[in-house]
Amino acid sequence: MAASERIGRWLAALASLIGGVFGAAFATVAARAATLPENRAEAMVHVYDGGGVTASGPAVLVRKSLADKVSLTGSYYLDAVSNASIDVVTTASPYNERRNEFGLAVDYAVRDSLLTLAVGASSEPDYDTRSVSLDIAQETFGGMTSVSLGFTRATDEVGKTGDPGFHDQATHWQYRVGVTQILTPKWLASVNLEAMSDSGYLGNVYRVARVFGAAVPEQVPRTRSSRAVKFRAVGDLGQRDAMHAEYRYFWDNWDIKAHTVEAGYSRYLGQSLLADGFIRYYTQSAALFYSDNAQTETTYVSRNRQLSDFDNVVVGGKLSYDWKKQPGQYDLKAHAAVELLNVKYHNFTDIRDGSLYSLRAAVLQLYLTATY
């Protein structure tokens, strides 16, 4: 059975489940209603620096509800990238480019359900993406259980700088389902599942693979089918603090298996400060056709370090300050967040000296949020 057929059957089963849940929701006697997300405005400056790549830029988001029925969200994100990464410096010369991303979403609350329709567009000089998603969040069981279903379809137009004749496409489908359950007055648990299907050009036009020491253009399969499942628990610890822990398992038909474990702690300090900290451990096994230096001729070969065997340890912290508050009117907060990444590759080498490559990166986010 083709991947898309299988996913179609999966979706049909999910649709009948939503239908059942909706039907039951409409049969509810109590006049309940899901709440729209609160009005919000965010402005952020983000910086990524590591492994020879720096990317920074502003981002803004504005959300406003209209007539208490519909909420509109608009967002803009800019990435100014200066790329001198290990891949770029060893095969080409560093370059700069900009990526613009726009997003528009509509939230609609009907009875116990919140429907969200979102569209997004991202463009770089040689890569354009358009996406559309639909998410449904349904409160059931007296608000104790929240079931969510989502679908995203994205299309990419792939180009190549310096080669106007090159053009290809990629299409992506994502199906998600999640359940969040209130366990006690202090603990929540959730499970999320996602199935992703990609087809088309899934490689990188500039990247080269190595076969018998020689550089060859990479050959990546034109389909990919992935699954991920995540378990998460959040709990209030009683001292104006909370902790969360999560585990995600990812597997796909390129033979990549990845585990993610994260634990975090948040605490209110005084009357105006909120501090968060987390540690995240990520490990993945290489794709079937990945090779740092292939010693056999295979149909597919790639030296993309994103598909190699590696570990990533991230430590992060965030501080939020309640700047101005007018209850019932608005609430302005200032935030600073830092993440430190430490990636160690097990089968990707720095071809300049043959040693196993590792990179350290830092992420900084400075932003203001206002609810009004």
Partner: protein, 98 residues
């Protein structure tokens, strides 16, 4: 020669004997009763955390994605460094406020 087979109160050849049939009937009744009890038990659980007990759960520190842009950016950094994607989830089960 064909012997007409008349409807008979006696058990047909191959059918289980009378006492075993009544036991099967009894067993099926028990199973039906158990299933009915389980289904009604299934319908019975009341939400055990009442809306007025959800104060701690409504606190922003219990939320998965408190700040949309920050979460989106962190997720983007992970997407371009790692092969694994998805199941990041959207959290529900809030304050029970309507």
């Amino acid at each position: 020669m064909n012997t007409p087979v008349a409807a008979s109160p006696l058990p047909l050849e191959g059918a289980p004997p009378a006492d075993r049939r009544s036991r099967i009937r009894g067993g099926r009744l028990v199973i039906a009763w158990l299933v009915a009890t389980m289904l009604s038990a299934c319908a019975a659980p009341e939400p055990w955390v009442k809306p007025y007990e959800r104060e701690r759960l409504a606190d922003p520190i219990m939320r998965l994605n408190r700040d949309a842009l920050s979460a989106k950016h962190s997720e983007h950094v992970r997407d371009i460094s790692e092969a694994a994607r998805g199941a990041t989830g959207v959290q529900g089960g809030g304050c029970g406020c309507k």
